[in-house]
């Protein structure tokens, strides 16, 4: 017999993260947190529940090089290139700013494509072909959306610049301080190599 919390387990496996407004899964997780945790413990996966930021996700401890008994990797590794990483870092900074801003009307961070463009434009070389630059930005945004960091909340086909996205707090968890440090070192090495 399937347990009453089976759907939560499946949902956690299928999605990037569960959020407080994912009804009824979030409530089910609250109710059966211990059982859900126990289920994943068997396969060495941890449920990270961050009530403060309002999300729950699966994490798998790093596997040591000589740790032969470690279970297979469940979570897919996603490689990010320079532009994708940089956009992630910029959005992460934005989340922090938003958290400490007393004027924001919501805990959630909503940004439009125009906002994103304004922020990242500084870092990317200007291309004479504006259209190409925009489509490259859209591509980047699409990539981050597929990783669950952004979510389109309002699509505006007439004014694509007004298309609105929500920046998920998951981004802050994924780009941890050590990841930020890693990126900095990587970039430093690149600067020295060219």
């Amino acid at each position: 017999m399937a347990k009453p919390y089976a759907s939560v387990i499946i949902r956690l496996l299928q999605s990037h993260a569960l959020y407080t407004d994912d009804h009824p899964y979030w409530d089910l997780l609250q109710k059966h947190e211990r059982a859900v945790r126990a289920h994943f413990e068997d396969i060495g996966v941890e449920v990270e529940l961050n009530a403060n930021q309002g999300y729950a996700r699966l994490v798998q401890p790093e596997r040591g090089p000589d740790d032969e008994d470690a279970p297979l990797k469940l979570l897919r590794r996603i490689p990010l290139n320079y532009e994708q990483s940089l956009l992630c870092v910029v959005l992460r900074e934005w989340l922090e700013e938003h958290e400490s801003s007393p004027t924001a009307g919501s805990l959630r961070l909503f940004v439009t494509r125009a906002d994103v463009r304004e922020r990242v434009e500084l870092f990317f070389q200007q291309q004479p072909n504006q259209k190409a630059q925009l489509s490259r930005l859209d591509e980047l945004i699409g990539k981050l959306e597929s990783h669950g960091f952004l979510k389109t909340t309002r699509r505006d086909d007439l004014q694509p610049d007004q298309t609105q996205y929500e920046v998920k707090p998951l981004l802050k968890a994924k780009i941890s301080l050590s990841k930020l440090e890693e990126f900095r070192l990587r970039l430093q090495a690149y600067v020295e190599s060219v």
Partner: protein, 489 residues
């Protein structure tokens, strides 16, 4: 009291309070008319979504044929909607309107306290009051002073004496009523006067909410700044978070608002308010008094609840934010990430003109589970990034031209040909192509000839005599002239 420099700011259109700037603005008429109409005139709308306000302004601009600011050539040709969007942007920037995104991601506008004051002042200038009531307000002052003195007494004996005087007064009134059996109700002018006063009070209360909200934000910012600049140990952080919240609640404003909200949400007081409002309107109707601004009071409860709710939400939100900021594992994290970001920014600027290739992996993150299953809800929307493969149409054999002639179906093994040449060279020091073909035959025709040619060309030992052509029989009645080749040892 404002100081003289505050008045001087009047001379600079860019400086000074928003309320002064709007009066000096070139399109003050448009701003005041439109915002009054949208937010306050017919029905009182504390919050209007961006989309609705934009549509209203677009209509307004068209109705009044407003082409934009004088001298602004670009504005002349712009579409009304674009102009409206630009106006709204400007007004937000100038501090006439607030813009925020609510929890659903919807953009919302409110009037700022400054603009609300201006609109109210303009209204008060334009509406002629039917009469100026002085009696009720004098009594109000008296009443409030009495309350102030009475309620702040520490001395219990004085309080008792006060209550006893009140009781004596009440007793006297009861005795008189029983004796005369008539009451002296308010005259019409008294009713009117009091109704106007209540209305004005309600209006100003609604206006003040906006200011309360703004002040909460200000206080939060102060607390936040103070705490990020001060160094903290890990242990003191929790107390700090609690203190910060307390501090926010314990400000005079926080306490007054809390108390107000409790009154408003007390079911008994809510019912009493409803009942009183109903009775007042019955009374007005019975006496045939047409109130100037009846709608406001009729809806006062829902307005108060709505506005109060909004301030309360803002308060809760700020409290949660504050909690989040100070309760975060440590403020050190925040500082560290700020420092890292600063470094990354600098490096990113450095590589701007020679960015890393897009194929290079810069970061590796854990994604979602590698778990293939059909999602419970299959999305009917086609995903943009997937490309559906089109079925390739195969050319039907009958309409394809026969191209086999172009393709060399037979592979000529050069080593075989070289072997044949060398076999002949064993007996003689040089041999012509003609002799090779006579001995071994020409099985593959022209191609084979060309292969012999390429063998000859590959080495300086052999000779190609272009001027001397030899005729070779290719079979099937065909023949071909080919330069004479001499292979040497």
């Amino acid at each position: 009291m404002p100081t003289y420099p505050d008045y001087q700011a009047f001379f600079h259109p860019e400086r000074g309070a928003a309320s002064l700037r709007v009066l000096r603005a070139r399109n003050a008429a448009l701003i005041l008319c439109f915002l009054q109409q949208s937010f306050k005139a017919e029905t009182y709308n504390p919050v209007i979504s961006h989309a609705v306000l934009l549509a209203q302004l677009t209509d307004f601009l068209q109705d009044w044929n407003i082409t934009g600011e004088e001298g602004d050539v670009a504005a002349l040709s712009a579409a009304p909607e674009e102009k409206a969007a630009k106006f709204l942007r400007d007004w937000v920037q100038q501090g006439y309107l607030t813009l925020y995104t609510d929890d659903q991601g919807e953009d919302q506008h409110c009037l700022t306290p400054a603009l609300e004051s201006v609109l109210d002042w303009v209204t008060s200038q334009l509406t002629k009051r039917s009469f100026v009531g002085t009696e009720s307000r004098f009594l109000d002052i008296l009443q409030k002073l009495r309350e102030l003195v009475r309620e702040s007494q520490n001395d219990w004996e004085a309080r008792v004496a006060e209550l006893e005087t009140q009781r004596a007064d009440l007793d006297r009134q009861i005795r008189e009523l029983k004796l005369t059996r008539t009451v002296q109700p308010f005259e019409d002018y008294q009713v009117k006067e009091r109704f106007e006063a209540v209305n004005a009070l309600a209006r100003s209360l609604l206006k003040d909410f906006r200011e309360v909200e703004g002040n909460f934000r200000h206080i939060t910012q102060q607390i936040y700044q103070e705490q990020t600049t001060r160094p903290h140990t890990k242990g003191s952080l929790l107390t700090l978070a609690l203190d910060a919240l307390d501090e926010l609640r314990q400000t005079d404003q926080g306490r007054s608002f809390d108390a107000f909200y409790q009154h408003l949400n007390d079911p008994r007081q809510k019912a009493e308010l409803d009942e009183l409002i109903r009775q007042v309107f019955d009374l007005l109707q019975a006496r045939d008094i047409a109130p100037g601004d009846a709608q406001l009071l009729r809806k006062i409860k829902s307005h108060l609840l709505g506005e109060g709710q909004k301030v309360n939400t803002a308060f809760q939100l700020l409290a949660r934010k504050l909690e989040k900021i100070v309760a975060e594992k440590n403020l050190q994290d925040r500082r560290q990430s700020l420092a890292l970001m600063r470094d990354i920014r600098g490096l990113a600027f450095e590589v701007m003109d020679r960015p890393p290739p897009p194929t290079e992996v810069f970061l590796e993150l854990d994604g979602r589970a590698e778990y293939c299953a059909t999602a419970a809800e299959v999305s009917l929307k086609p995903r943009q990034e997937t490309i559906t493969a089109r079925e390739l149409r195969l050319a039907a054999p009958e309409d394809a031209p026969d191209l086999t002639a172009l393709v060399n179906r037979r592979v000529i093994d050069k080593s075989v040909l070289i072997g044949q040449i060398q076999a002949l060279l064993l007996q003689q020091s040089q041999v012509s192509l003609q002799q090779v073909v006579q001995t071994f035959g020409l099985r593959y025709g022209l191609t084979e000839l060309l292969a012999y040619g390429s063998i000859a060309a590959a080495s300086a030992k052999h000779l190609i005599r272009d001027e001397q052509k030899v005729l070779f029989d290719l079979g099937e009645g065909r023949a071909c002239e080919f330069p004479e080749l001499i292979f040497c040892r």
